[in-house]
């Protein structure tokens, strides 16, 4: 399965819905999307990963890169994920401390800290 990406704006937040597999082949597309959003002035991103079937360290690297970019503009990058197998990758790499991870897009959009 390839990667699917779509975006939606909610107030000052931009939701990036990701579906499929994020790996060494598809991660560059996600990177391009995040870079484009930041270049266009979207600095508060919510990446909805509920449709993601597979995530590897290349994908983690892209998300960390996205976080660095939005932080340079005092922005935020929040994740929405309830899937244990995806959350596990964030836990073993210690990235649960780096990314705010929410259970729903609504919760992520409402978060302010």
């Amino acid at each position: 399965m390839d990667l699917s990406l779509s975006t939606e704006t909610m107030g000052d937040r931009t939701i990036v819905r990701v579906g499929g597999e994020i790996d060494v082949y598809t991660a560059p597309k996600l990177r391009e999307q995040l870079v484009e959003l930041v270049n266009d002035g979207s600095f508060h991103l919510v990446v909805d990963m509920e449709g993601v079937d597979f995530l590897d360290s290349t994908g983690l690297g892209v998300l960390v890169g996205g976080l660095k970019r939005v932080r340079a503009h005092e922005g935020s990058l929040r994740l929405v994920c309830n899937q244990e197998r995806i959350l596990k990758i964030f836990r073993i790499t210690g990235l649960t401390k780096v990314f705010p991870i929410h259970t729903s897009v609504e919760e992520a959009v409402a978060a302010t800290d």
Binding site: D23, S57, G61
Partner: protein, 144 residues
């Protein structure tokens, strides 16, 4: 000889194929269903790393994956042909890209070592390999 041996051109698009094949062979070998996600992720990380090493080193040789069914064990060995001389390889002229590549390489290894209890990473001038092993359950349990 390996139960299944896979060789693929060092291109990112083939890593998914390696993951799928490894997971299918692992399932048949009797690796617990609950662990198959880990097998898929670990072999993907190892292949991603090998592809990166071949691409950055300009190595045209394929990446090799050995899937080996042993008694009560299933092993996967991912081999690359990149010479691993010293940690500071590719020093001058590579620019800032080298650091990013090293970081990604380390992140991949961090994921593998976090996922797999039994893992050996070896590297030499002829290339390197990552060998990972998982226990298998007897077929009787599978049928139950």
């Amino acid at each position: 000889m390996a139960t299944v041996e896979l060789r693929f051109s060092a291109l990112p698009e083939h890593v998914r194929t390696a993951r799928l094949v490894a997971a299918a062979v692992a399932r048949r070998a009797g690796v617990d269903e609950a662990v198959l996600d880990e097998v898929r992720l670990a072999v993907g990380e190892a292949c991603t790393r090998a592809v990166g090493l071949h691409q950055h080193g300009g190595i045209s040789a394929p990446v090799k994956v050995l899937l080996i069914e042993e008694e009560k064990l299933f092993s996967i060995e991912v081999g690359d042909e990149a010479p691993h001389a010293t940690p500071g390889r590719g020093a001058s002229g590579d620019g800032p890209g080298t650091d990013v590549e090293t970081e990604e390489d380390e992140m991949g290894l961090a994921v593998i070592s976090g996922l797999v209890d039994d893992v050996e990473v070896s590297a030499g001038e002829q290339g390197g390999s990552i060998r990972m092993r998982w226990p298998t359950v007897p077929p009787a349990t599978l049928l139950a």
